[in-house]
């Protein structure tokens, strides 16, 4: 471990902007939530109504965690922030850890470092330390920002430390993923899947199988019960799990060869059958699409498997049933409509990542090699566009199919299952519109391509927090998902679908036209 501290300093320096943005984002999430909750629920009656709405609606529970203490201001803040915060810090630690471990090893920079007098574990340890430190500091600051709005200090602190706990566990799981996978792309996939799994387990668990939530670090965060009968001991679970997982990663490092993963590379075919850029593009996109299809299918099953229990929970509550019936919204329809929107917003992550692929090909000079052959620019990029289009269709269809299948398996009601399967396709143009922004950037400002992620963050914030943060109408208007009918709770409306489709097409066409005229590489 010699040299860890010095490497830590340089890593902190390299990451300073990245860390700042994650910190600002998370602290803003906690602080703004605390401020706006206090503003919206100014009477106990308002809080009671909100609590009743959450308790009666399992889609809220599946999205944001169990309803505990939601009739208090602190409980509302915790309920609004924690699950989402856990996912965000999971993504942050994933990027930090893999960027300093597997990615460094893959590019050979790590080799350069290890040849200097530093310990074998030092480069990796410095990256992991950055992630642990960042989790702790950001967690504390989030706790302080909640405390600053006048909520109970001990519970506020617990909210912050619970967030740090999530960061610790995901740091450890990402580090383990970096040992198992031999490429950074695969390591990101594994670590991201771990975050997704943690979210999914607790979604099912919170709605109807509490023990599943106890398998998830995000579940532990809720189980800490900040503002609802605080249980500090739960934090011990996060610490123990991260310690075990980090020990596993460190052990794996000493067991594996440098540069290799747990699974060694198998030899490939001596001759190839691909003869065109299109075939290559399909091949390059295939593993990502398959991975996302599998993930979204499982996610869909997880939601579908909640079955009729959203309705059953209401069965005991006559008053609630009457209230909802008066509003004209069937609870079950609302629940599955929301699940479809949520899965589609997640699928935007696929679409934008996929639209960034040509940039990756260009930066790694693969595009240069291809374009010295008879592959045309237009044809090459169109191939990638087609891959994103087909991939988005498949990923969304898998999500819908999973949802329907999960429901059908639990209830045996095939007709309703179909009714919550097909509407997923109405979100294809919206998902493509988000990737269209990336496409436009790729053509016009290729260096700023990564900004294509911003619309995804934006759409997610509008979906998850639009109501609560009381965002102005125009800002919601910008999110394509706000314009689509909540099928099956509402009837399908083709007009917005067509308009959004046209916007997606226009963005993509302008991006491609600009690409034709610019320098490559």
């Amino acid at each position: 471990m010699t040299g860890t501290l010095r490497l830590l300093r340089s890593a902190l320096r390299r990451d300073r902007w990245m860390l700042l943005w994650w910190a600002v984002g998370l602290i803003a999430l906690y602080w703004l939530t605390a401020v706006s909750v206090a503003g919206i629920y100014d009477t106990q009656q308002a809080l009671d109504e909100a609590a009743a709405a959450i308790e009666s609606n399992p889609s809220y529970v599946a999205l944001s965690g169990p309803a505990q203490g939601v009739d208090t201001l602190g409980g509302q803040v915790a309920w609004n922030c924690q699950v989402f915060g856990g996912v965000v810090i999971g993504l942050m630690t994933m990027f930090l850890v893999i960027r300093h471990t597997r990615a460094e090893e893959e590019t050979g920079r790590d080799e350069l470092l290890r040849a200097t007098p530093v310990g074998r574990l030092a480069p990796a340890a410095s990256g992991v330390l950055v992630s642990l430190l960042a989790s702790l500091v950001i967690g504390l600051l989030c706790g302080l920002s909640v405390m600053a709005t006048g909520l109970a200090p001990e519970d506020s602190l617990a909210m912050g430390l619970g967030l740090a706990g999530c960061g610790f566990v995901f740091t450890a799981s990402a580090w383990t993923a970096a040992q198992v996978a031999s490429t950074s792309r695969a390591a990101y996939g594994l670590a991201g899947a771990a975050v997704g799994l943690a979210y999914g387990l607790r979604a099912i668990g919170d709605v109807n199988a509490a023990w599943l939530s106890w398998l998830s670090p995000i579940g532990w965060y809720s189980a800490l019960q900040a503002f609802a009968g605080l249980r500090w001991w739960v934090l011990g679970l996060s610490l123990a799990a991260s310690a075990v997982s980090m020990a596993l990663a460190a052990w794996l490092i000493t067991r594996r060869d440098y540069g290799a993963g747990l699974v060694s590379a198998r030899p490939g075919p001596a001759a190839g059958r691909m003869g065109s850029a299109a075939a290559l593009t399909a091949r390059l996109h295939r593993p990502t699409v398959l991975g996302w299809m599998a993930g979204m299918f499982l996610g869909g099953i997880a939601y579908g498997a909640i079955g009729d229990s959203p309705g059953e929970m209401l069965g005991d509550n006559e008053q609630m049933t009457e209230m909802l019936a008066a509003g004209g919204v069937d609870l079950l329809d609302g629940f599955y409509g929301t699940a479809l929107v949520m899965l589609s917003v997640i699928a935007c992550g696929y679409a934008v990542g996929s639209a960034l692929r040509p940039r990756h090909e260009e930066e790694s000079t693969h595009a240069e090699l291809l374009m010295s052959t008879r592959a045309t620019r237009v044809g090459w990029l169109l191939g990638h566009v087609a891959a994103t289009l087909i991939g988005s269709l498949l990923v969304l269809a898998s999500a819908g199919a999973g949802l329907g299948l999960g429901y059908w398996l639990v209830t045996g009601d095939g007709a309703y299952a179909w009714g919550i399967t097909w509407p997923v396709l109405q979100y294809v143009p919206a998902v493509l519109a988000l990737s269209g922004v990336t496409r436009l950037l790729y053509g016009v400002l290729p260096r700023w391509c990564a900004l294509g992620w911003l619309p995804v963050v934006y759409v997610a914030v509008v979906l998850f927090f639009g109501e609560m943060l009381d965002l102005p109408d125009w800002s919601r208007w910008l999110s394509p998902f706000e314009h689509l009918a909540l099928v099956p709770a509402a009837d399908l409306d083709p007009t917005p679908i067509l308009i959004i489709g046209a916007v997606a097409l226009a963005l993509s066409v302008v991006g491609q036209a600009a690409f034709r005229r610019r320098d490559v590489g």
Partner: protein, 308 residues
């Protein structure tokens, strides 16, 4: 003979930086044209313009008589390119990459592919991720040399190869030329250029500063001479074109411009030559002549010291 590559007054700027500044370059059919220059002189930029990857700001550039930007695809059917820093798709095997690029260049000669794999001792079953730099370069070279094309554009193609493979590379390029092919070879390895190239162009800060056959270029520089004489030589110092004269008793060394060589040897011969060694100018000297910054102080002087 038709010119395969013809560049006139080519300008390419990146923001304020003028990467290519009125560059002219012609490569005739059937020749191996050496393209020399220090790092950052504009070699790769020129090649990228030729491949239609970069848009030029002004000037003309044609390959096979067709415009490199608007007709790039029809040009690309007839050429193969090996980049200096070969990066391959990590999940594809070497064989897959070779066949993919071959197909996309309009066909691969299967027999030649096998010969080349053997000559370069390349295992096509390995995944690109596990290849070393040299092996990645071999993949690109095999793909280019096995393709049925008329022009090879090679950007420092041997920077990662060992000397044995370097020899194999030279043999393969010669075979390609025997079949009537044309080669543009950008290189740092002067031995390779001397061995292979018919003509050489030297680029510096975006301009061609010298172009011609090696014989023509040698003419511009000096031969270094060292001799032991029977008696001290007189009059050498007065000869125009004799430089760096050092006379210590009967030992003498100097460098002479090509035109002055005859007269200088005449002087030595009058004094009686005991031993004589002369070295023709190497490409290295040519190279240094154009890059050594001492050039600024003493125009035309060959410099041996710094090779910046």
């Amino acid at each position: 003979m038709r010119d395969v590559i013809e560049i006139r007054g080519l300008v390419k700027t990146f923001g304020r930086f003028r990467a290519l500044d009125e560059l002219d370059l012609t490569v005739a059919q059937g020749e191996v044209h050496g393209f020399l220059g220090p790092n950052g002189a504009g070699k790769s930029t020129t090649i990228r313009v030729l491949l239609g990857l970069l848009r030029r700001d002004s000037g003309t550039a044609t390959v096979f008589g067709e415009d490199v930007w608007s007709e790039s695809v029809s040009i690309h059917r007839r050429l193969a390119y090996v980049p200096g820093d070969v990066s391959l798709w990590p999940n594809l095997s070497g064989g897959e990459v070779i066949d993919l690029l071959g197909q996309m260049r309009g066909g691969l000669r299967a027999d030649r592919r096998e010969e080349l794999l053997e000559a370069f001792e390349l295992d096509p079953r390995k995944k690109a991720r596990t290849y070393s730099k040299g092996n990645r370069q071999k993949v690109a070279l095999v793909a280019a040399l096995a393709a049925d094309v008329e022009l090879l554009i090679l950007d420092e193609p041997t920077s990662g190869l060992d000397p044995l493979m370097e020899a194999t590379f030279q043999r393969c390029v010669r075979e390609f030329c025997d079949r009537g092919g044309t080669v543009l070879l950008s290189s740092h390895i002067l031995g390779e250029v001397e061995e292979l190239c018919d003509r050489v162009s030297i680029i510096r800060t975006g301009r061609i500063v010298e172009t011609g056959t090696l014989a023509e270029l040698r003419h511009l520089t000096r031969t270094s001479v060292r001799a032991e004489l029977a008696a001290p030589a007189a009059g050498l110092g007065e000869l125009a074109g004799v430089h760096d004269l050092i006379a210590e008793g009967r030992r003498v060394s100097f460098s002479a411009e090509t035109d002055a060589l005859d007269a200088a040897i005449g002087q030595l011969s009058e004094a009686g030559i005991r031993t004589l060694t002369s070295q023709p100018p190497t490409l290295e000297e040519l190279f240094l002549r154009h890059y050594g910054d001492i050039l600024e102080d003493e125009p035309g002087a060959p410099t041996q010291d710094d090779g910046r």
